[in-house]
Amino acid sequence: MSELLIKNGRVFDPINSINGDIMDIAIKNGKIVDDISLSPDTKVIDASSMIVMPGGVDAHSHIAGSKVNSGRIMCPNDSRSGIEKRTKITRPCSGYTVPNTFAMGYRYAKLGYTTVFEAAIPILHARHTHEEFGDIPIIDKGGLVLFGSNWQVMEAVRENDIEKLAAYIAWGLSASRGYGVKIVNPGGGEAWGFGKNVSGLHDTVPNFDVTPAEIITGLAKANEMLHLPHSIHLHCNLLGKPGNYKTTIETMKLLENIKPSMDRQVVHITHMTFNAWGGTNWGDFESKADAVADYLNQHDHVTVDMGQLIFGNATTMTADGPMQYANARLLATKWTNGDVELEDASGVVPLSYIRKMYIHDIMWAVGLEVALLTKNPWQVLLTTDHPNGGPFVNYPEVIALLMSARKREEEMLKLSNKMRDRTTLSGIERELDWYDIAIKTRASHAKILGLTDHGKGHLGAYADADVTIYHINPDQVDAGREHATVKKAFEKPAYTIKDGEFVVRNGEITATPEGRTFWVNASVPEEDNTRLMKDLRLKFRKYYSINLANYMVQDNYVKHPVVIKAGGS
């Protein structure tokens, strides 16, 4: 394979503490190497006065699976936008909030992203997710698997049998070829089967005699028992309800005493835009991002992501069925709900975020406030919870907002006065720098997922040669004033390099290799597994619509797998 030398770039590689140094990056056989001896075959890129960063990593996005497809089916209108004709090497694209599979890969690569994780896979529907993964070109993928309203999980929690719970997680990750533990409105998905929801952390789930608090702590303990690379990944109870910041903080407190099994957080709480809300109803709705950020500033066992709202069309999709039903009633819009047998619920609701609707304006501010008020940049990831807050193609807009107080001020002029009164955003002067952005768009994502040792999110030796080069000179551009230039540069990287191969040049796709899929194979003691399988055989016989033997995702559904080993001891 070819060799490549990226010369004289301004390198931002936070994992290796490189902050804008002028350096050369050498690539050989798809990996970063310390040095190469120049030969006539070595390609050289002059990156002087350009920014060089590791390829982007997105730890929370909805890019594949049955929910995304429901969104596509419900929104044929969405495919009227974003139409791009096929070229010699790319397939045709369409869609904005729920683009087709090919567009997912091309558009992420065009933004300089090379690794993206799907944030919600029901085990039962994992095969579908992997089939779509197979059709998403260029980027590496992985997926988080839903465990929060699962019968087997709740029973093990009730019995306080954490070993059996760990065995089930290991089995579930293997069955779905999944990467980590996702929890969505724990207990709520099951209660929704009876038309109910859980009203807080200590409410009992019907028929199971467990509380969301017990489910969360049980799963967190089992997660650490298994030494999984990622922590539990949590969509809190009461998401989307005014006043939910209390539950969010209470949830974080719940996990203060759990020890992480490796150097990372104990819990990742996702899409803060929807979780840091004050008030008691939509009338006195306000932002409580400051309270959440205060907590984050005092505790390091939690990481979060923004789930930033983007004005315009979005398609909300989540395993939180009851929340979506409430959403659809509130907005009088079309909706769908799904029930995943013994495992979870789901819902999809397309909507539009509209400027000057103060609720949307405040939500827009919440994501930014959390990112700006939390001092440690590693603690808050930049996401839009694609496509819930808005489509991922808007990341450059979010970057510009974070880097420029002036841009935020300009944007706030277009919004309602209530937003100014009920958020702290207009008083925040902090502007993130290039290093912070490199953390929030790649380094911290990789670290939180536990992917740094597997070659993602940095440019150290033996890392995957995923590199993005942006056409902007940090010496000449004042990001605070010239936010439009910043946005443009992040929208159209000069180069995206995936495994040492140019996949994007000047915003155009130049190659479409197939990406890999990460999944975690965790080993558990045989006796725990035996106890688990006894339970599972009974469940499949009595309740599931399919056989245990047909349940597991077969290997031929997973193209280019990367298996990460985990397990106790």
Partner: protein, 253 residues
């Protein structure tokens, strides 16, 4: 005044996408330029002269441009799409999506129009002498708004879902309408002189007036006092209650 006359010389079995046939696009062009305007026959790119003999008189701006199609074009779609001015006269039948997204001007179809006539139109007028198909003045699949403005008059009958998701403008049907006219009406006015079934389901606002017989009415309408309009006494209903709607449904007594 510019008058362009198109005489169909060849009928295709494959549908022809002809959104380029508009006064806006023809105005100020020479005959040769008009002949070479692109149309698509299925996935095959072709030009207007392959299907039409073209005669041209004068040269003028879009508002003073008149297109006359002398004959039926039952496989030519999207005629007059997005036009803002001028006139189109079709002396025969036309295929789907005539006058889609139209913003101004007048389209007159002497024969029948197929489905989706006046889809998402914003202004102007469409007059259909014969019948119209399904989804007259409706929205595109999945959109929450159909016709937003302008007027459609149909002298014959129309099929199901006339004015689906209509948000404004006016539809007048002289004949009968199929199932569910004005479904999800959100502010449009629909008048049906003939018979129909299940009008106004999920209507949020707007008006539907029916002078013929209504076979089935959704149960979620609230009956009000009778009202007399232009000398005709109507049963008046408001709804659709299911959608929290405040639309008015008038059915001749």
């Amino acid at each position: 005044m510019q008058t362009v006359t198109l005489i169909p010389v060849m009928q295709s079995k494959i549908s022809i996408e002809a959104e380029t046939i508009t006064p806006n696009n023809f105005a100020g062009k020479t005959r040769e330029e008009i002949e070479n305007i692109t149309i698509w026959e299925g996935n095959h790119k072709t030009r207007l002269f392959e299907f039409f003999k073209i005669a041209l008189e004068g040269k003028d701006s879009p508002e003073n441009t008149k297109i006359i199609i002398n004959g039926s074009i039952p496989r030519v779609k999207r005629v007059g799409e997005g036009m803002t001015d001028g006139m189109i006269l079709i002396n025969g039948d036309v295929d789907m999506h005539v006058g889609a997204k139209m913003q101004g001007g007048v389209i007159t179809v002497k024969g029948n129009a197929d489905s989706w006539a006046g889809r998402e139109m914003k202004g102007g007028e469409i007059i259909i002498g014969g019948d119209a198909g399904y989804y007259l003045g409706a929205g595109y699949r999945g959109e929450s708004c159909g016709m937003r403005g302008g007027k459609i008059i149909v002298f014959g009958d129309v099929k199901d879902y006339a004015g689906e998701h209509i948000c404004g403008g006016e539809i007048l049907i002289k004949g009968s309408a199929g199932l569910m006219p004005g479904i999800s009406n959100n502010g449009g006015i629909i008048t049906i002189e003939g018979n129909t079934e299940i009008p106004g389901a999920e209507m949020k606002k707007g008006t539907i007036k029916i002078n013929g017989v209504v076979e089935t009415l959704v149960p979620s309408y609230k009956q009000e006092d009778d009202e007399e309009i232009d000398g005709i006494v109507y049963n008046k209903y408001t709804g659709d209650v299911v959608a929290g709607g405040k639309g008015s449904l008038y059915i001749k007594k």
